[in-house]
């Protein structure tokens, strides 16, 4: 017991105020999102609450892109305005219980501000690794905001996990789907 207290104090005394952790999707997923969010009842592969899954980098990438938790490249300029950061810091309207007010995540315990800042840095750096989810033809979806904020759905060629050339822009009655035939325009 005494040893636990001493180590707790030691760990605080020896740690640095400078956060030099790598702002990569792999690192953020394995050390922050998975232990904080991918619990059995929430965003694990087992439950996939509201369609989000954060227990592996591949799953996190799919969730971030498919559910527009971070909109690339729009959110790069103001990462704090992304859906993901808003959810972590102030909350977003509940998907499971609309009208119940803002719900902040993680639901069972707050996330350290340093972790949120690292995720913001990853977004500001270009959302590396989660700009695009490729289908078998290496194509994925890109959703950007139009002049009036309306979504513009584009099929893009993915390269090394990131967005490449725009292949096709879906029409106003279509959207690029993430779940069936990812990287194809389908009727909304």
């Amino acid at each position: 017991m005494k040893r636990l207290v001493l180590i707790a104090l030691w760990s605080g005394a020896c740690s640095s105020a400078t956060d030099d952790r790598p702002a990569t999707l792999d690192y953020i997923t394995e050390t922050i999102l998975a232990p904080s969010c991918a619990t059995a009842e929430c965003h694990s592969a087992f439950k996939q609450e509201v369609g989000d899954e954060f227990d592996t980098p591949a799953a996190a990438r799919r969730s971030i892109v498919a559910n527009t938790l971070v909109a690339y490249p729009d959110d790069m300029t103001v990462p704090s305005g992304s859906y993901l950061i808003q959810t972590l810091r102030v909350g977003e309207p509940s998907i499971l219980d609309p009208g119940s007010g803002l719900v902040r995540m993680p639901y069972d315990a707050a996330m350290p501000e340093a972790d949120i800042r690292l995720i913001e840095k990853w977004i500001a750096d270009g959302v590396e690794g989660a700009q695009c989810v490729p289908n078998a033809q290496d194509r994925g979806c890109l959703v950007t905001a139009g002049p009036q904020g309306e979504p513009i759905y584009q099929v893009v060629a993915c390269t090394a996990g990131n967005v490449g050339d725009v292949v096709e822009t879906c029409t106003g009655t279509q959207m690029c789907t993430f779940y069936t035939g990812n990287g194809q325009c389908v009727a909304q």
Binding site: S15, A17, A40, A58, A110, M111, P112
Partner: protein
Amino acid sequence: MTAGLAVAAAVAILALTGGRAAAYPQYQLSRDQTCTDCHLSPAGGGLLSENGYSVAESFSQFGTAPEFMYGKLALPSWLALGGDFRGAAGYIHTPDNAVTAFPMQADVYVHAAYHGFSAQLTLGARPAQWIQGNGTPGVLDRFWSREHYVMWQQNDGGSDGLYVRVGRFMPVFGLRFVEHVDYTRRFGGTPLYGETYGVAVEYVEPAWEAHLTGFIADPLIDPVVHDSGVAGYAEVRLDPKLSVGGEAMVTTSDGLARVRGGATAKWQSEPAGVLIEAELQVVHQQVNGPGAPNQIVGYVMGSRPFGSAFLLDVGVGHYDEDLAIQGLDRDGVDVNLHWFATSHLELVLQNRVEVIGVGSSNGGPTSGWTLLHAHYRL
């Protein structure tokens, strides 16, 4: 500082209560030496043995027959049945405020034994996986089997000796508290629904026990834990009231390797009637690409029975997700009051306060909850 204050508070609270030690996992050294003294599984938990029934009956307010279905259903000697049902309701501040109620567990157990060989099956409800587009989960998405394994036991019908298990179960590792929110469960390698397929060789006797498990990520369902690896845990009872243990776990998954090493200790303080249990883990992770954080996870719990049916737990947890960076540590204080109303019914008032990065500008808001937890054992 937080942990120190909490330990002091725990000692103060525990010292104010009186009574005797009996029953429940928190009392391992106060009454029996091993988990198998009360449970059929060498890991503890689940179905009770005859001695476990006796303990459940003796430490409850109103007694009642402790056997399955109050003994009204006669079972052959080779068959054991049981079940656990849990739910909770209360107030959470994590850090948003909410009044909540939720089911926790609905499992039934079947255990059939024949000449040292046995088969264990747990069937129950599971949280249905989210379905895109407001779809309704099918029946098979609402029920599952958390544990199913076959076991060979050297001492047929006994509670010691060599055990070999093959199937789906939770690897034995660390103190194995019931509450999955305890830090050494949640962050310590044995989270809720962390059961998976593996092979375990285990030896249990009053003076010592050892468990070695090789396991793989569940290939049949979308699991909670994606790791494959090896876990070992050994515990030596230096004295009937004092034990120390060591633990190690090496796991790999796609893009992540993790090594855990740690120690446990249990001490039953007879004058105070308090069982102190502690676990400390050091964790090294190697993430794909740059990044190899070191972590520590620790939990200390003091348990004090009082009256004929009450148990008070005071626990302190510490988790630091990266020792090199300030503000990433969290400390939690748990105060749980159990009332064993009958040999089948338990009510627990659970309380937690959690702080993040005390003294650091990188920390986070304080969280907590108060929940009333009901547990019915079939």
